[in-house]
Symmetry: C2
Subunit: 144 residues, 2 copies
Amino acid sequence: MERLDDIFFYTLEKSIKSYRQFAQRAMLKQGFKLTIDQWLVLKAIMDNPDWNQQAIADASFKDFASVTRIIELLVKKGFLTRAIHPTDRRRFLLTPMPKAEQDLKAMRPITEQNRKTALKGISEEQLALLHQYLTRIIENCQNS
Amino acid sequence: MERLDDIFFYTLEKSIKSYRQFAQRAMLKQGFKLTIDQWLVLKAIMDNPDWNQQAIADASFKDFASVTRIIELLVKKGFLTRAIHPTDRRRFLLTPMPKAEQDLKAMRPITEQNRKTALKGISEEQLALLHQYLTRIIENCQNS
DNA sequence: CAAATATAATTGTTATATCAATAAAATGAA
DNA sequence: TTCATTTTATTGATATAACAATTATATTTG
């Protein structure tokens, strides 16, 4: 019988879930009122202020609908303001509030520490290899 | 600036999401009316018929509440029946219907093929290494 | 035994994923 | 310019994740 723990994709799923749970706990403990996903989308927006929501969705590897809803929450929580786009009325102009910049910056050392803790015992070279294999899996799945 | 694609945990997340999407599409295309998560929980139950729902939740690495709801759906879809447990009235006795056995069995070659496709270009040794590193990450996160 | 505690499962709430349907605005072609 | 098409985003429905509160039953302890 094939045990779940022996199934590679089960372990893959469990690893990212474990990390998410760990990172989310750490973030909340430091008083940041953001989910991992909100952080991810906020970062994508700050890094690419001119992109539309579809591009943000692609960048954060999220569904368009999810991005719409996550942005709503980020606006409600005071991280973003949303205004009609000056040249394309279908779009919105997303403007980060000072809080967004501050919190992302303040979160950086925590994020760094989380990653370090999660990757303890894995060398740079091993990590690079892992990264490469995972990228290969992504390609395989997206082209099939 | 740190790009999302360079963040290891982002790639980790993207890889499992890509696989899920790919595997779910393949499963639906073959006419199986199950989600990946329902499949996972059903398999855990079939492999461990005597376990209670909390043990099933642990095995499938899911929240208790999620398992309750997934089981409801599996019952509604005719994969399981649920009766009061003969010796412990807090528990339920979950009994797989013939359909469950049949579908899991019929799905096996598809699952095999999915895995093969997703892992194309990665050797057995590399996979074992990957598996080992991911297990390490899980331990690191769960003990922190 | 009775009261306190522990266990098994459900329910409620909010956030996200996925898919389908829809609305509004922009663009392109006749 | 007008009509068809495309693009951008939202909304609705169902499934799952996480966390808290609750219910029912079992077990332990005094």
